[in-house]
Amino acid sequence: MTAMNMAGFPILTTILMTTIVGLLVIIFIPPEKTKLIKQVSLASASLGLVLCLWLYHAYDFHKGGLQFVERFLWVRSLGIYWFNGIDGINLPMMLLTSIVLFTGVWTMWELEHRVKEFYALMFLLVAGVYGVFMSMDLFWIFVWYDVSLFPMYPLIAIWGGTRKEYGAMKLTLYLLAGSAFILPAILFLWAKAGGHTFDLFMLQKIGFTPFDQKVAFLMLYLGFGILAAVWPFHTWSPVGHVAAPTAVSMIHAGVLMKLGAYGVLRIGMTLCPQGAVYWSHLMALLGTIGIIYGALAGLAQTDLKYVIGYSSVSHMGIVGLGLATLSVNGINGAVFQMFAHGIMTALFFSSVGFIYDRTHTKIIPELGGLSKTMPVASSFFIFAALAGIGVPLMASFWAELLVLTAAVKVFPVAGVLACFGMILSALFMLRVVQRTFYGEKNPKWEHIPDISKFLAVPRVILMSCILFFGLFPKVILDVIQSAVIPFVTRF
C-alpha cells in the first residue's frame, strides 16, 4: 500500500507552492495594477494545471499504491509528519482542483472590485484544497481543511451577491462547526493509537477497537458530511452558493464540497472500516434522501443558483450512496462522481455567472428566451444541465451507473429510489432550461451581446473535460480503482 519512493523531486510540494507563491507575489503587487495581478494568477494557476496533468500522466496505476511520496518528521513529540503522497483517489481530485482553479481564474477576468484581495484569498483557498488532497497526515489534512474554509467568508461577504453577509456568515460557521467534530475525532484516533503519530498509514496499521471506530467514524461523518452537503446539513449549500461570486461558487461547489466526501473516504473509511460498516446504512439512507430531496426541492426554486445548489445536494447524495456501499463499484463511482460533478457544477456556475454579470439577475421568471440573445452562453448552461441529468457519454453518467449498480446490489431499496431520482433530476433541469432559455425572446435582454471568444474558452475547456471523460472513462477509472480495489479489502 505505502510504496515509499522517497527519492526524486518534491512535485507535490511544488504544486502547493504554485498557489502560495502566487499568493505572495500578488500580495506584493500594488492593488491598482489589476491586469498584472490577473496575469500572475492565471500564470500560476496554469502552472498548477500543467503540473497536475504531468502528475496524472506520470502516475503509474499498474503499480498503484502511494507514489510521489514526500515524508519527513515535522513535530517529533506529537509525531506530525510532512507527508504527501498520491494514490488513485486523490489524483483525480488534484486534477479536478487544478482544472477548476484555472477556469475559475479565467472566468473572473472581468472582475474590477478589489482584485488583489480576491485573487490572494482565492489562492489561499486553493492552497488549502491542494493541501487536503495531497496530505497523508491527519494534522496537515485538518490544517489545510480549515485553511480552505475560512477564506470563504471574505470571498463571499465582499464580492458576493444576494444576502451576501448572511450567506457568508452562515456558510462559514456551518462548515467550521463541522470541523468542531473533526478535530476531536482526529485527536481521539491519535490518542487511541498511543499518541505518537498522525501518519495516516501508521495509524492504519493500528487496529482500533470496534467501539472507538464507531465513535470516531460517526464524528468524522458528521463533520465532513456537513461540507459534503449531506442531508439534513445541506441548507448552507444553496444559500452560500447564491451569495458567492462566480469563481468562488465554482471552486466551492466544484472542489470544496468534495473535500467532505474525500475526508470521509480518506480518514473515516481508512481508519475506521468497522465503523464505516456499522454506519453504512445511515450513510445510504442520508445519501438517498439527499438525491430525492435535492431534486424535489430544486423543482420549486426560482433562483438559478438555488437550483444548482440543490442539484449539488442531489449529486453529492449519489456520492454518499456510493461510499455507503463499501464496494469497488460504489466507491469507484463515488470518486468518479466527485470528479464529474466538480467539472459539471463548475460549468454550471461559470455560465450562470456570465448570465448574471450581463443581466444582473438570477431569478428565472425575469429571464427567459435567452437562447435567442446569447445562444452560445446558454448552450453552455444547457450542456451542463444535460450532464446533470446524467445523459450518457457524459462523465457523470458512468459515475451514476457504477454507483447505482453497487447500490441496487447492496441496498436494493435505496438503489431503486435513487434511480427514480434520475427522473426528477431530468424534470427539474429541463424545467429550468425551458424557463430560462426557451420561450419568446425577452426585450429586456435584446441589447446584450453574446459571450466573447475569450471568455468562452474556460467554459469550452470544462465542456470538453465532461465529454472526454464521458467517452473514455477508462482513463480515470483505471487510476481510481488502482486505489479502490485494495481499499475495499478491509471492509
Binding site: T235, N329, P392, M422, A426, L477
Partner: protein
C-alpha cells in the same frame, strides 16, 4: 487501430455510423452562421452513411452475424465492452435508418429553407442520425441504452426546435421526461442483469436466456423492467401521450424520428433481445396486452382529430402497438417486416402532409381540403398510396406485413387478440381514409372565390414552385418512398429468410427445450408454418375485408356525394370527448404531477428547508446570542454582586471538597 483500416467492414461501420457526429460537431463549432454549408455537410455525411449501410447489407447479406468488441473500461468485476453486432436485423435497420434519414434530410432542404435555425436543425439531424445508427449496431444492451438515451436527447432538441414557441419546448420536455420514466425501468432492468448475470452482450444474453443460463425469475423481472423502456420509447400505453405532442417539431422531424425510426427503436430493442423476452411467457403476455390496448386506444384517438400530423401520430402509435403485439405473440419476422414497411409508408405519409402544411400553412385537414389540397397532384397521389398501404390494401406493402401479423395473432390460443387486430385494422383504414376524403372531397367543394385568390397565390407558388428547387427537394423523396411502399411487399420471402438468421437456430433451441421457450420456438417455426397455414387464405380475406370495411365506412361518411361529413362518433359527444382528450391520460398525468410533486412533496420539502432546517440553524444562533445577553446580566456593574458571585463559587467548591 490498425484493424480499423485493415477490415473494410469495420471501417465502413465506423465511418458510416460516426460521420454524422463529426458533421454535427463541425456545424455547431464552425458553420453555425453559414446555413447552406451546414446543410451540405450534413446531407453529404448522411448520404455517405446511407451508402455505407447499403454496402454493408449487400456484403454481409449471406454472412453469419459479425461481432466486434473492445473493452471500454472495467470496474471491479464489471467489464463494460464497446462493440458492434452486425446481424441481419441490425443491418436491415441500419439501412432503413440510413436511407430514410438521407431522404428526410434532402426533403428538409426544401421544407426548412430560410428557417433561422437552419444550421442548428441540421446539427441536430446529424446528432440523431449518429445516435440512431450507433444504437442499431450496438453490441451490448448497455451501449444500446446509451445511444437510446442519445436518440431521446436528439428528439428533445428536434421537438423543441421552435423553442420560442412555449408549446414546442413544453412538448420536448414532456417527451424527454416520459421517456425517462420508461428508461429508468430499462436502466434498472439492465442493472439487475449486470448484477445477476454480469454480461450485457446481446448474443450472449439471448443464448443464455434460451439455454436456461439465467434464472427464470431474473429473466421475468428484468424483461418486464426492460419492457418499460419499450413503453416509453415506442409510446405504448400508458406513456403514449408524448408522441402526438411531439408533432410540435418540424414535419420532417416527425417523419423521421416520430414515425419511421426513433419510435420504432422500442420495437427494435424488443426484437433485438426477442429470444430473451420469449424465455419469459409472463413478460410476453404483459407485452401482448399492452400492445393491444395501445393499438385500440390510439386508433380511437385518431378517429376524431382534424390535425393531419396528429392523425398520423396516433396511427404510428397504433402501428407500433401492432408490432409489439406481433412480437409478444412470437411473430418475430412479422414485427420486423411491419417495422420495415411501416417505416416506409409512414415516412411517406408525413412527408406528403409536410408538403401540404408547407403549402397551406395549416395542419387542419378541412381547411387544406377547402383550399384545394387535391390540386397538388404529386403529394395527393403519394399520400393516397401511403394511406392504402397503411390500411393494408393489396398490393401495397402494408398488406403483406399486416397480414403476417394477423396470422401470428391468429396462431395465439386466445383468439381475442386476433379480433383486436382485425378491429384495429378496421379503425386504421377508417381514420386514414377519413383524412384522405377530407382532402379529396372537401365539404361543399373548394371555395372558389376565397380559394381563387389563394389559388392565384397558390398556383403562383406552384408555378415557381414546380420548377423551384424547394418543391422538387420535397417531391423527389416523397416519390421514392411511394415507389418503395408499392414494391416492398413483394420482397417478403427474401427478407424473411434473411432476417430469421439473426435468431438462435431452431435445433439449438430444440436441444434445450424449456417451458419458457415455446413462444420463441413457435416464432422460429412460424415463418415456415405460415405459408401452408390450413386456412391461410381465409385469414387473408378477413384481413383485407377489414381494411376495405373501414374504407367503405369512411367513403359513406366523407367520400360519397352529399355525405354527412360528420363521422358517426359525433352522435356520441361523450365518446368524442373521451377520444379527443386522449382518454384523459394527459389530464391524469398533469394533475398527478401538480398535486403529488409540485403541490405535495416539493413545497413540503422547500417549506421544511426554510422552516425546520434553516429555522433550526438560525434558531440555534439566536438562542446562542440570547444566552449571551442573559449571561451578561452576571456582569452587572454592582461590585458586590460580583464579589458575592466569586465567594459563592469558591465556597461551593470548598463545600464540594469538604463534604
Amino acid at each position: 487501430m490498425g484493424a480499423l483500416f485493415r477490415d473494410p467492414v469495420l471501417f465502413a461501420t465506423v465511418l458510416g455510423t460516426n460521420l454524422p457526429f463529426f458533421s454535427m460537431a463541425v456545424i455547431l463549432l464552425f458553420t453555425r452562421s453559414k446555413p447552406t454549408v451546414s446543410s451540405r455537410i450534413s446531407v453529404g455525411s448522411i448520404a455517405v452513411s446511407a451508402i455505407c449501410a447499403i454496402s454493408l447489407l449487400a456484403r454481409l447479406f449471406s454472412a453469419p452475424p459479425l461481432q466486434y468488441q473492445t473493452l471500454w473500461f472495467c470496474s471491479g468485476k464489471l467489464n463494460i465492452v464497446f462493440g458492434y453486432y452486425l446481424d441481419p436485423l441490425s443491418l436491415l435497420m441500419l439501412t432503413i435508418v440510413g436511407i430514410i434519414a438521407c431522404l428526410v434530410q434532402i426533403y428538409s432542404l426544401g421544407y426548412m429553407a430560410g428557417d433561422p435555425g437552419y444550421s442548428r436543425y441540421y446539427a441536430f439531424q446529424s446528432l440523431f442520425a449518429w445516435a440512431m445508427m450507433n444504437m442499431v449496431i450496438a453490441g451490448s444492451m448497455l451501449q444500446l441504452f446509451i445511444f437510446w438515451e442519445m436518440v431521446g436527447l436528439a428528439s428533445y432538441f428536434l421537438i423543441g426546435f421552435y423553442y420560442e414557441k412555449w408549446s414546442a419546448s413544453q412538448a420536448g420536455k414532456k417527451a424527454f421526461v416520459m421517456n425517462r420514466v420508461g428508461d429508468v425501468g430499462f436502466f434498472l432492468g439492465l442493472i439487475l442483469l449486470l448484477i445477476g448475470f454480469g454480461n450485457l452482450d446481446i448474443p450472449t444474453l439471448n443464448h443464455a436466456a434460451v439455454s436456461h443460463g439465467i434464472s427464470q425469475g431474473l429473466i421475468t423481472t428484468s424483461a418486464l423492467l426492460i419492457f418499460c423502456g419499450v413503453i416509453g420509447k415506442s409510446a405504448q400505453f400508458p406513456l403514449l401521450t408524448w408522441l402526438p405532442d411531439a408533432m410540435e417539431g418540424p414535419t420532417p422531424v416527425s417523419a423521421l424520428l416520430h414515425s419511421a425510426t426513433m419510435v420504432a427503436a422500442g420495437v427494435y430493442m424488443f426484437s433485438r433481445i426477442f429470444p430473451f423476452f420469449s424465455a419469459s411467457p409472463q413478460a410476453m403476455a404483459v407485452a401482448l396486452a399492452i400492445g393491444a390496448v395501445t393499438m385500440i386506444l390510439s386508433s380511437t384517438m385518431a378517429m376524431v382529430t382534424y390535425d393531419l400530423k396528429q392523425v398520423w401520430a396516433y396511427s404510428t402509435v397504433s402501428q407500433l402497438g401492432y408490432m409489439v403485439m406481433a412480437l409478444a405473440a412470437g411473430g418475430y419476422f412479422a414485427a420486423v417486416f411491419h417495422l420495415t414497411t411501416h417505416a416506409g409508408f409512414k415516412a411517406l405519409l408525413f412527408l406528403c402532409s409536410g408538403i401540404f402544411i408547407h403549402e397551406f400553412h395549416t395542419n387542419d385537414m378541412r381547411i387544406i381540403g377547402k383550399q384545394g389540397g387535391r390540386k397538388l397532384k404529386i403529394p395527393m397521389t403519394c399520400i393516397t398510396i401511403g394511406a392504402l398501404a397503411l390500411s393494408g390494401v393489396f398490393p401495397f406493402s402494408g398488406f403483406f406485413s399486416k397480414e403476417a401479423i394477423l396470422t401470428v395473432l391468429y396462431a395465439q390460443p386466445n383468439k381475442i387478440w386476433y379480433a383486436a387486430g382485425l378491429f384495429g385494422a378496421v379503425l386504421t383504414a377508417y381514420y386514414s381514409f377519413r383524412l384522405i376524403f377530407h382532402l379529396l372531397f372537401p365539404k361543399d367543394g373548394i371555395e372558389e372565390k376565397h380559394h381563387h385568390g389563394e389559388h392565384e397565390a397558390g398556383s403562383h407558388e406552384h408555378e415557381e414552385g414546380h420548377q423551384g428547387f424547394v418543391f422538387w427537394a420535397m417531391a423527389i423523396p416523397v416519390m421514392i418512398l411511394a415507389g418503395v411502399s408499392v414494391v416492398l411487399g413483394f420482397f417478403e420471402h427474401g427478407l424473411e429468410h434473411f432476417i430469421m438468421r439473426s435468431l438462435p437456430i431452431p435445433e439449438e433451441l430444440a436441444r434445450h427445450a424449456v417451458p419458457g421457450v415455446h413462444a420463441a420456438a413457435h416464432a422460429l417455426s412460424e415463418g415456415a408454418q405460415r405459408v401452408h397455414e390450413p386456412n391461410g387464405s381465409l385469414l387473408t380475406i378477413l384481413g383485407v375485408s377489414a381494411g376495405l370495411l373501414g374504407i367503405a365506412v369512411a367513403w359513406f361518411e366523407y367520400g360519397r356525394q352529399g355525405a354527412s361529413r360528420k363521422g358517426f362518433l359525433s352522435y356520441f359527444p361523450a365518446i368524442w370527448k373521451l377520444f379527443d382528450l386522449r382518454w384523459f391520460l394527459d389530464i391524469f398525468y398533469r394533475k398527478g404531477l401538480d398535486t403529488l410533486v409540485y403541490a405535495g412533496l416539493t413545497s413540503l420539502f422547500v417549506r421544511n428547508d426554510r422552516r425546520i432546517i434553516d429555522g433550526g440553524i438560525d434558531g440555534i444562533c439566536i438562542f446562542t446570542e440570547g444566552s449571551g445577553r442573559l449571561f451578561s446580566f452576571l456582569q452587572s456593574g454592582m461590585l458586590q454582586f460580583n464579589l458575592v458571585l466569586m465567594v459563592l463559587v469558591a465556597g461551593a467548591a470548598v463545600l464540594y471538597f469538604v463534604i
